[in-house]
Amino acid sequence: MLDLDMSPYGVFVWSSWAISAVALTAISLRALVAARRWKRELTRLEEARK
């Protein structure tokens, strides 16, 4: 059964989940953005050497 209020502990539960969601999203995005950036740069340099 879904109970989104969770009184009297809602603030603790929601804070924990929100902080975790933000942190996990941040490290995921950072990894993906860096992957894209260095892949593009490597492709550019390899093509320039051809």
Partner: protein, 239 residues
């Protein structure tokens, strides 16, 4: 296994694996979140039991990531293999974030249940030390300009930090702690009710897959970054 130590082979092997890990992690995170919020409130903890579904995976993966960092550091030091060094470096940030999350979510659970955000008991303190090892590892790498020297110095620190892992794991058995002893991985089987086992195991699998996806992606990025630096250096020599 050792064949994968070749960076080209590693890149070929992990290319199809990485998107699969990302996809599975997202699906399991969604399923685990649903299971976590539809599980019944605990008769003692109430709704704070839902914090456990993210606290325990974060703590477990924080330890696991350090084990990956330490073992990679060992191979980087002994065999001087650049891929092992890249693996150690790539494990540091996600490991630090997961350990930080374990500390924060633990405090958010501790305040309503124990009546305090923090106590200097052996488990909490040893996890804080683990977090400081991560920060020290990243700070040391960042403080030395020569990447090879930075890698070796950080690898030594990474290896030293391995000593802390059994202390974290067994602190609740060796000392009298406020933190409860293991309830999932313990002799005699789990003490968890099946209603909580399903969300917890699903979230642990999801966190594991997400860490795997971030780690593999970051290792692949590190391999590419080093190739870029090498190509730039070669171009500068030729100019």
């Amino acid at each position: 296994m050792f064949g994968l130590a070749n960076p080209d082979r590693f890149m070929r092997f992990t290319r199809p694996l990485t998107p699969v890990l990302w996809g599975l992690a997202v699906v399991l995170l969604a399923v685990g979140t649903w299971l976590s919020f539809t599980a019944p409130a605990d008769y003692q903890q109430g709704d704070t039991v839902r914090i456990m579904f993210i606290h325990v995976p974060a703590a477990t993966l924080g330890l696991g990531a350090y084990a990956a960092l330490g073992v990679s550091s060992f191979f980087a030091l002994v065999f001087r293999h650049p891929l092992a060094d890249a693996a150690a470096r790539a494990a540091a940030l996600p490991g630090a974030v997961l350990t930080g999350l374990a500390l924060i979510t633990g405090a958010l659970w501790g305040q309503p249940m124990w009546g305090t955000w923090w106590v200097w008991d052996a488990r909490l303190t040893s996890v804080l030390v683990l977090f400081l090892f991560y920060l020290g590892y990243m700070a040391l790498r960042a403080s030395i300009d020569d990447e090879a020297k930075a890698g070796r110095a950080a690898a030594v620190l990474g290896l030293v930090g391995l000593i802390n892992l059994p202390i974290v794991k067994f602190s609740v058995d060796w000392w009298n702690t406020l933190h409860q002893p293991a309830s999932l991985l313990r002799a005699g089987g789990t003490s968890l009710d099946p209603a909580y086992l399903a969300p917890l195991l699903t979230m642990m699998a999801a966190y594991g897959l997400l860490f795997g996806a971030v780690w593999l992606t970051s290792i692949r990025t590190e391999v590419r970054r080093r190739r870029v630096l090498s190509l730039r250096a070669r171009a500068a020599q030729e100019a």
